[in-house]
């Protein structure tokens, strides 16, 4: 997982509340064998509407989603997180998130920045007044900055620590790579290996 310290990118105002994971990515897109390529399923139903925010050129290459309350409810599909990431989102700012979605995001490296709903409203106005404006997100001091205004956001300390250091579960284990190598050095030579491939004589 990449380290996350700061990110600045085009902000996308997404006004609906209760955007569930079925709306983030419909079930029909889940048959894939990949964890990538889900961007075409992202908000699939809404993307057919020319007025949908991501269909407007100013927002189309957005990377900071400013979402309505209770974002990510519904099924536990991690594909919802992958779809947002595959599209290019690095951060979702909002006032309330579904627990499982928040957990999946933390595992996959998508930053969930929680702010008060009145901050969300201010960010929406800012992004709608000047489409294509950027938002700066700083995980070190936990702030979201839009133009001249900075707002604090909250995140739990453990997730922040893992994101700042680029540690996913595998990353954490790999930080003990020395211990793994030391263990490997003690493995008896009679333990089997699958390479080179052996066939019966």
């Amino acid at each position: 997982m990449d380290k996350f310290t700061t990110h600045t990118g085009i902000g996308v105002p997404l006004r609906p509340s209760n955007v569930d994971t079925d709306q983030i990515i419909p079930a029909v897109y889940l048959k894939r064998v990949t964890r990538s390529g889900f961007e075409d399923g992202l908000f699939a139903a809404w993307r057919t509407d020319p007025d949908f925010v991501l269909n407007q050129p100013a927002y189309a290459s957005g990377s900071v989603l400013v979402a309505g309350p209770d974002f990510g409810t519904g099924s536990s599909r991690e594909h919802a997180v992958w779809a947002l990431q595959n599209y290019g989102f690095k951060v979702v700012v909002g006032s309330r998130f579904a627990d499982i979605f928040r957990g999946n995001s933390g595992k996959a490296g998508l930053l969930i920045a929680q702010v008060d709903q009145d901050v969300v409203e201010e960010l929406w106005r800012y992004l709608e007044d000047a489409p294509g404006s950027t938002i700066a997100v700083d995980l070190t001091d936990r702030t979201v900055t839009a133009g001249a205004n900075s707002y604090p956001f909250t995140i739990d300390d453990y997730t922040a620590h893992r994101l700042l250091n680029g540690l996913d579960d595998i990353g954490i284990t790999l930080s003990h790579a020395d211990a793994i190598s030391a263990y490997e050095a003690t493995r008896p030579s009679f333990k089997p290996t699958t390479l080179p491939v052996r066939v019966a004589s």
Binding site: R35, T173, H176, I180, Y183, L195, A200
Partner: protein
């Protein structure tokens, strides 16, 4: 205080311990198949990671593969994509793979032991819940999810909380005509599908000691069906004899060193278990399931339960629902249940001894009119072996279908499935609603019962013929 077999294996695989964290366990062998691995490999690719130990990893194509015309392009696009993806991933990451049509292709839990890759004292994982099969060799083996598959690919380790200790004490020996499948079905009926939750179970006692390796694999295979995290059996002369000479078994001095180690792998006499279960093998008779979970089983001589007579409200409701789904009449004799299909195969009972046992029943007999019987060897090697013994002829002359190796109707991801309402006698391990096809009804049985059932068309044992 002594140690259990599981303790000994676990402790020699701990890479790291820290207070408040699960043990980081080293994995000796990681088995991979096409269904649960694609997102794991993709995760590696996205993170720019490699497979840490391709030489401790083995891939095979089994779950989703056809059992006819295996060299033709796979017709089902989803299956084809999954198999193609596995092949591409294996090539990209340097993981050895046994593909359809090659000598060592087969069900993942059949080929590991067959190649001699499964050995005593190992830790073995696979993205498949029947990985406990390998515990028959005195290994700690269990199933994992796709994120964990990725974790093992990347690190060759897994963070794991230690299971509690359980002993399954099997007294006496199985009577002639009673099989390891009957024993494990009877155990599951006794302890329930949740009876082993949180435990690593060690099967031991006279019947286990006298059992062949293949029978022991049948027992360990179904550990997950009573909820155990893993099931294992202490290695002994039977284990060593099975392994010696297999392609991946150690040779020469390495064999001697391995053997010396394997001989230390048993539960010490003064080791204590957190729980013990007793079972009298000598009292068992052929056993079949009547319901929709593997714990809903009875001796073949019994009748379908009458829900009104079941005291426990939860059990009664479960029985009512199962009997309705299964289309049975309460109180009817199990022997009167007519089947449409007989499936002989799977990692539970798709090995050569299983095929021999079924063939010995079928020899000179015919599959009943209106019954189809599918014989699916567990691996390409089992298939070749069976053909060299003429078993394929026995099956085809009896009117059964002789197929190529794979999981097939065990989980019905490929074209081998039950139609809605169809009923099977199956040597596999799960009789869940729809497991063998939407609306299909499954009775779990031994290979011998499967063969006798095929001949009579109703649930039967060879003694009924």
């Amino acid at each position: 205080m002594g140690k259990t077999l599981a303790d000994k294996i676990w402790e020699t695989h701990v890479v790291r311990t820290a207070a408040g964290e699960p043990d980081l366990l080293y994995i000796d062998l990681h088995l991979v198949h096409e269904v649960t691995s694609p997102q794991a490999f993709d995760g590696l690719r996205l993170a720019g990671r490699r497979v840490r130990r391709p030489d401790l990893t083995l891939a095979t194509e089994d779950h989703n593969t056809p059992t006819e015309n295996i060299l033709a392009p796979i017709a089902d696009p989803v299956s084809k994509l999954q198999v193609d993806t596995l092949r591409a991933n294996a090539a990209e990451f340097g993981v050895p793979i046994h593909s359809l049509g090659t000598a060592d292709q087969g069900v993942v839990h059949i080929i590991g032991p067959e190649l001699g890759l499964t050995q005593p004292g190992m830790t073995i994982v696979c993205g498949d819940s029947h990985t406990a099969t390998h515990g028959a060799f005195g290994a700690i083996a269990f199933g994992i999810g796709t994120s964990e598959v990725e974790h093992v690919l990347a690190t060759q380790t897994l963070a794991q909380a230690r299971g509690k200790r359980m002993a399954v004490n099997v007294r006496g020996d199985l009577a002639p005509g009673v099989t390891p499948k009957d024993l494990i079905l009877a155990l599951i009926a006794q302890v329930g599908t949740g009876g082993g939750q949180g435990y690593i179970a060690e099967y031991r006692g006279e019947a286990i000691e006298k059992m062949s390796m293949e029978g022991r694999m049948t027992i360990c295979n179904m550990s997950i069906e009573w909820g155990a995290k893993a099931g294992l059996i202490a290695p002994d002369e039977t284990t060593y004899a099975y392994l010696q000479g297999r392609p991946n078994a150690p040779e020469g001095d390495e064999w001697d060193a391995a053997l010396a180690y394997w001989k230390t792998l048993y539960s010490d006499a003064d080791a204590s278990f957190d729980a013990e279960v007793d079972l009298d093998a000598s009292a068992l008779t052929p056993f079949v399931t009547w319901g929709t979970n593997p714990g809903q089983g009875l001796p073949l001589s019994a009748n379908v339960p009458v829900p009104n007579e079941i005291a426990d409200a939860v059990d009664r409701a479960a029985a009512e629902k199962a009997i309705e789904y299964m289309g049975l009449t309460p109180g009817m004799a199990l022997r009167d249940i007519k089947v449409d299909t007989v499936f002989l195969g799977s990692c539970t009972n798709g090995r050569i001894e299983d095929l021999r046992a079924a063939a010995s029943v079928l020899k000179g007999r015919k599959v009943a009119d209106g019954v189809r019987m599918l014989v699916v060897p567990g691996s390409a090697r089992v298939r070749v072996r069976a053909m060299s013994e003429g078993l394929d002829k026995v099956f085809t002359e009896a009117g059964a279908d002789w197929r190529e190796a794979g999981c097939s109707m065990c989980l019905a991801m490929n074209p081998d499935k039950l139609a809605p309402g169809e009923r099977s006698a199956s040597t596999s391990n799960r009789n869940f609603e729809g497991r063998q096809g939407k609306g299909g009804r499954t009775h779990l049985v031994s290979p011998e019962v499967a063969a006798a059932t095929a001949v009579r068309g109703t649930l039967s044992s060879p003694a009924d013929l």
